[in-house]
């Protein structure tokens, strides 16, 4: 009986550009980027007419829909305008990459590679977010952007005052500040492994179901993966928006944000 070839935790190297390793997840990221660039180019070709055509109307609906959605979280149009490119791009990039991960050929087109003297067959394409490097990159950008927006909104000293409180002034506050620092790193880990875990688990699930019942049975799971891909992208971008909202509020108001983040 053939054994299940479950995907490995780490992505596979399919080529080298100098010392740079081109992995199958990176190739997937480039394809996702290409899709987004084509859509952007098609949008640019509409010339943003006063009386829009069907495609421009569709794009305007998406762009405005996202703006209203983020604004319902941020509740400040100016602030929403600042964070809009970041959070919308996170969502769009993640959702496109997640959905492309379930396209036929992803994980099933194999290439022959020679490593350490022996030849192996590895998938040419793999879902972008089934690689910790990718999700960690998103998490780092999200958390760094949160700090930047927080500092920009409150100033360096007031913002850092949330983390660094003199123990002789407020011992409990000092301890809470340390917890806040830990929480920032915890957010990175949480962001990274939530997305990675869901997408990787989805891949494994599809592989296992396809192995057990190759026809028909995987279809509901593919539908589930579409749903999971959307939800994970939404959760990632929405949490980024919530963290930015929390970071740009004065200290007294961030408990509410915590509740939202942990919900």
């Amino acid at each position: 009986m053939a054994a299940i070839e479950a995907p490995t935790l780490a992505s596979e190297v399919i080529a080298h550009i100098g010392s740079f390793e081109v992995r199958n997840t990176l190739l997937m990221a480039w394809i996702a980027m290409a899709v987004l660039f084509v859509v952007s180019f098609l949008t640019w070709r509409t010339k943003y007419k006063e009386i829009p055509g069907r495609f421009q109307t569709f794009m305007e609906m998406i762009v405005e829909g996202f703006f209203d959605f983020w604004d319902s979280i941020i509740d400040d149009r100016e602030q929403t305008r600042k964070i809009y490119p970041l959070v919308t791009s996170i969502f769009i990039f993640l959702v496109v990459a997640n959905w492309m991960g379930i396209l036929p050929g992803v994980g099933s087109i194999l290439v022959r590679v020679h490593t350490d003297g022996h030849t192996s067959m590895i998938p040419l394409l793999r879902s972008m977010n089934a690689d910790v490097n990718m999700t960690l990159a998103f998490a780092l950008m999200s958390i760094i952007a949160t700090q930047v927006f927080g500092i920009a909104a409150l100033g360096v000293a007031p913002y850092m005052g949330k983390f660094l409180i003199a123990p002789w002034k407020d011992p409990i506050g000092c301890f809470v500040g340390l917890l806040e620092i830990v929480a920032e790193f915890a957010k990175i880990i949480s962001f990274t492994f939530r997305l990675f875990g869901n997408i990787f688990a989805g891949e494994v699930l599809i592989v296992v179901i396809s192995f057990l019942v190759p026809y028909i049975a995987p279809i509901p799971f593919l539908g589930l993966e579409i749903f999971v891909g959307f939800i994970q992208a939404l959760v990632f971008s929405m949490l980024t928006a919530v963290f930015i909202k929390m970071a740009t509020m004065m200290h007294g108001g961030h408990e509410e944000g915590h509740e939202m983040a942990h919900a």
Partner: protein, 168 residues
């Protein structure tokens, strides 16, 4: 470190993905978000302005309607007054013309009567003279046959004396 190796953490890949995301954000921002949001904002602003203009026009229309109704009332009142005045003036003019016409007619009648009296008097006088002449000639012709010249002269003289009183 072993966990990081097992997970395939690779700093080059991490940085590459950050760069990738940066490029995606830049492209989407400059080709999609900014221009579309500007277009939407501009359209929203124009719509807001159009709605304001429409409200302003509606308000102006209402004001104009009120003004028009007031003006119509004013014009109606002025026209009524003007018509009344015109009727009065026309009545006065009519009276004046009638008076003048009556005077003229009276004057012409008087003048006609005077002229008629004069004419009658003149015709009467002429008829009197003509009749006298005819009678005298007739008498002469009769008397030539039956009276002597002396009788004729005497009788003619008497008749001439009496004729005017007879003719009256």
């Amino acid at each position: 470190m072993e966990l990081l190796t097992q997970l395939g953490i690779n700093w080059q890949l991490l940085i590459a993905q950050i760069v990738n995301f940066g490029i995606v954000v830049a492209v989407l921002t400059y080709l999609v978000y900014k221009p579309l949001l500007s277009t939407i904002d501009a359209r929203r602003e124009r719509t807001r302005k159009s709605v304001e203009d429409a409200k302003k026009i509606e308000s102006q229309k209402r004001d104009m309607e009120v003004f028009r109704v007031e003006q119509m009332k004013k014009i109606d009142a002025e026209c009524g007054a003007f018509l009344d005045q015109a009727k009065k003036d026309a009545e006065a003019t009519k009276e004046q013309i009638l008076t003048l016409a009556q005077k003229e007619a009276d004057r012409l009648l008087t003048k006609g009567e005077e002229r008629l009296a004069e004419e009658r008097s003149r015709v009467f006088s002429e008829v009197q003279n003509d009749l006298s002449t005819i009678i005298v000639r007739l008498t002469e012709k009769i008397l030539v046959k039956e009276f002597t010249p002396e009788d004729q002269k005497k009788w003619i003289g008497d008749i001439q004396k009496e004729l005017p009183s007879l003719l009256r």
